[in-house]
C-alpha cells in the first residue's frame, strides 16, 4: 500500500487544492485530512458522514473545590503555569486549573496532599468516516483550543489505513497540516512519499528547507512542486534547485490562476473545472505515478 502525504511547511500554499485534485484523479484511493485544527478538504469534497466518533485522549486536572483547602502546593508542582490563584473578596484565595494550559501530566493530581484534584478523561474533538465522490475519507475536528492534535492525527492515520485495508485500496492520499511540529511529524510517520507544495517566495523557500530537512530526518522520499510559479520565476528556479540539491524530485509547476478560487467557491476540485492550471495539476499527477 502506498501512502502519499501532501505538506508544505508554510501554510496557504495550496496543499488542499492540489490534494483534492489528486483525489479526483486517483482511482480507488482512500483519503484523509490530517490538518485537524483547520481542516478544509471537506469544503471541496462535501463528504456524507457515515460514522462519527468522540476523540478522548489523555486527561485534564480539575480542582475539587469542596475538598481543596487552598494550601497552594499545586502552584509549585505545575510546570505549565496552569494553576491560577484567584483572590476572593474575603481575602482568601481559591485555586483553579486553566484547561488550556494543562498538559495533562497528572503531577498535581498525584501529589496534592489532600487529594483535592480530579483527573478526568479529556474530550479533544471528534473523527469521522465519510463517503465522497472521490472515495472514502477519514477526517477530524479538533476541539476548540484543544490539546493533543498530534494524537488526533495519529488516530486519523490509523483509521484510514484500516479503511484502505477493508476497501482493498492500494493508495492513501493525505492532506497534511502546515509547520514542522507535533501534528506534521504524526502525519508523515510511516508515509511512503511526501509531496511538498510550495510557493515562489522567500517564506516558501525558507519553510521548504525546513520541511525537507524534517522528511530527511524521517528518511522519507520527497517530491516538490511550486504553486503560482509565475508570481516570481526567479524564485521558482531557486527553489527547484534547492529541492534537487537535497535529493527531492521536482515534479512540475502550477501557474497562478484565479480559477482556483472560483473552483473553491463552487466546491469543485480544480481538475473538475477547465481553468488553465487544471492541466498543470494533471501533468504533475501523471509524473507522480512514476515515483
Amino acid at each position: 500500500m502506498k501512502e502519499i502525504v501532501v505538506i508544505s511547511g508554510k501554510g496557504g500554499t495550496g496543499k488542499t487544492s492540489v490534494l483534492a485534485s489528486f483525489a479526483v484523479l486517483a482511482k480507488n484511493a482512500v483519503l484523509a485530512d490530517c490538518d485537524v485544527d483547520a481542516a478544509d478538504l471537506h469544503l471541496v469534497l462535501r463528504p456524507d458522514i457515515i460514522e462519527k466518533h468522540d476523540f478522548i485522549s489523555g486527561h485534564e486536572a480539575v480542582v475539587l473545590q469542596d475538598v481543596c483547602d487552598s494550601c497552594g502546593a499545586c502552584l509549585n508542582l505545575c510546570r505549565f503555569d496552569a494553576i491560577k490563584e484567584i483572590s476572593q473578596p474575603s481575602g482568601e484565595s481559591i485555586f483553579e486549573i486553566d484547561s488550556h494550559s494543562c498538559e495533562g501530566c497528572g503531577v498535581c493530581y498525584a501529589f496534592c496532599p489532600l487529594k483535592a484534584i480530579d483527573f478526568k478523561d479529556r474530550h479533544c474533538g471528534e473523527w469521522m468516516i465519510s463517503s465522497t465522490r472521490a472515495g472514502s475519507m477519514v477526517h477530524a475536528k479538533l476541539g476548540i483550543a484543544a490539546e493533543n492534535s498530534g494524537k488526533l492525527v495519529s488516530t486519523v492515520k490509523e483509521k484510514v489505513r484500516e479503511l484502505a485495508g477493508k476497501e482493498n485500496s492500494d493508495l492513501i492520499l493525505i492532506d497534511g497540516p502546515p509547520g514542522t511540529g507535533c501534528p506534521v511529524i504524526a502525519s508523515v510517520t510511516g508515509a511512503s512519499l511526501v509531496f511538498v507544495v510550495t510557493e515562489p517566495t522567500v517564506s516558501g523557500e525558507h519553510d521548504l528547507k525546513r520541511i525537507l530537512e524534517l522528511v530527511r530526518h524521517f528518511n522519507i522520499p520527497a517530491c516538490v512542486c511550486v504553486n503560482k510559479w509565475d508570481i516570481c520565476p526567479e524564485m521558482t528556479e531557486k527553489i527547484e534547485n534547492l529541492a534537487v540539491s537535497t535529493g527531492a524530485s521536482v515534479l512540475g509547476r502550477i501557474r497562478y490562476d484565479t480559477g482556483v478560487t472560483k473552483a473553491q467557491i463552487e466546491a469543485l476540485a480544480v481538475v473538475e473545472t477547465d481553468t488553465p492550471s487544471a492541466q498543470d495539476i494533471i501533468n504533475i499527477w501523471q509524473a507522480l505515478q512514476f515515483q
Binding site: S8, G9, K10, G11, G12, T13, T16, V36, D37, A38, D40, L43, G58, H59, R79, F80, H100, S101, E103, G104, C105, G106, V107, A110, F111, L142, I144, A145, A146, E147, S149, G150, P177, P178, G179, T180, G181, C182, P183, V184, I185, E199, P200, T201, V202, S203, H206, D207, R210, E213, L214, H217, F218, I231, C232, M235, T261, Q264, I265, A267
Partner: protein, 280 residues
C-alpha cells in the same frame, strides 16, 4: 500592550500584517515571531542579531546505581502520561522527544533514581531592526514541542512597550500558547471558502479564550464578500481590508515589506494600528 496576529488558515498574511504594523509603529515596538515551526519575520526585517539562546526542557535521566527496575519497579513508566519512559524489566528507557518535562517521574521514584537534565528543543534569537526590537523562536527540526519555545520567545517581552506577536497558524496548542495573556488578537483571513471556514474556527478559539479581537481581510476583492457577510452577522469589527494587489504579492515574494516597496500603503497600516489600539 500585547497584540497577537493570528489566523486559522495558514498563508493568509499574518507575517505581512505583523511586519508592516511594526514598521508603521516606527518606534518603541517589539515584534515577536511566535511561529516557531516556520519563523518568517527575519526574511522581511533583517535585523542585527543581539543574542541567541537555546531553549530546553528538563527530561529525566536514570541514576543506574539506585534504580530498582530489575526488582519489578516500573512506577516512573506507569506515571508518565506521554509514554516517554518504558520499563522493559531492566533499566528504564527514556524517549526524550515524547517527554513534556513535567517532572512527575522524578517525584514518583521511591529510590531517588531520577535526576533531571536539560534537553534542547529550540532557539530564541533577539535582534534590532532600526527602532524595532525583534525576537524569534525556532523549534529544532524533528522536535514536537512548539509551545515550550513559544513561551521562551514571550519571556523577551518588555511589558511597558507595545508588543506585536506573529502567531502560528491553526487553532491548537501552539496558537493558544502564543495568544494567552494578549490584550487583543488580529485575525487575518482571505475572502475564500477556506479562509471563511478557518476564520470561524479561529473566532471560536479566541472567544473560548476570552480575548478581544478584530478581523483583517487580506487579498480583498469586491466580488468576494463572504467575510464581510460573516463578520456583519457575528458583529465582528473589520479593522482593515488589504486589496488583492499583484504588486504586494511580488514584493512579498522577494522579501520586501509592503510599506517599503509601496509607500502608498503606509497610511493604511498606521490607521490599522490606531484602530487596534482603540479597540484593545
Amino acid at each position: 500592550m500585547k497584540i497577537a496576529i493570528a489566523s486559522g488558515k495558514g498563508g493568509t498574511g499574518k507575517t505581512t500584517v505583523a511586519v508592516n504594523l511594526a514598521l508603521a509603529a516606527e518606534r518603541n515596538v517589539q515584534l515577536l515571531d511566535c511561529d516557531v515551526e516556520e519563523p518568517n519575520v527575519h526574511l522581511f526585517l533583517k535585523g542585527e542579531e543581539k543574542q541567541a539562546r537555546r531553549v530546553s526542557i528538563l527530561i529525566p535521566q536514570i541514576i543506574e546505581s539506585r534504580c530498582i527496575a530489575e526488582e519489578g519497579c516500573d512506577l516512573c513508566s506507569q506515571f508518565c502520561e506521554f509514554n516517554a519512559i518504558v520499563c522493559p524489566g531492566k533499566l528504564p528507557i527514556i524517549m526524550p522527544e515524547m517527554c513534556h518535562g513535567c517532572g512527575g517521574c522524578k517525584r514518583i521514584c521511591p529510590k531517588k533514581a531520577i535526576r533531571e537534565v536539560p534537553y534542547e528543543i529550540g532557539t530564541v534569537t533577539t535582534a534590532q531592526y532600526k527602532d524595532i526590537f525583534l525576537a524569534e523562536g525556532r523549534l529544532d527540526i524533528g522536535m514536537p514541542l512548539a509551545p515550550s519555545v513559544i513561551k521562551g520567545v514571550k519571556e523577551e517581552i518588555k511589558s511597558d512597550v507595545l508588543a506585536l506577536l506573529d502567531a502560528p497558524p491553526g487553532t491548537s496548542c501552539p496558537v493558544v500558547a502564543a495568544l494567552q495573556d494578549c490584550d487583543f488578537v488580529v485575525l487575518v483571513t482571505e475572502p475564500t471558502p477556506f479562509g471563511q471556514n478557518d476564520l470561524r474556527l479561529a473566532v471560536d478559539m479566541v472567544r473560548e479564550l476570552g480575548l478581544r479581537f478584530g478581523v483583517v481581510i487580506n487579498r480583498a476583492n469586491p466580488d468576494q464578500t463572504c467575510i464581510n457577510e460573516y463578520c456583519a452577522a457575528e458583529k465582528i469589527q473589520i479593522l482593515a481590508a488589504i486589496p488583492d494587489d499583484r504588486r504586494i504579492a511580488q514584493s512579498y515574494a522577494i522579501g520586501i515589506p509592503i510599506i517599503e516597496a509601496l509607500p502608498e500603503y503606509k497610511e493604511m497600516f498606521e490607521t490599522l494600528l490606531g484602530r487596534i489600539k482603540e479597540a484593545a
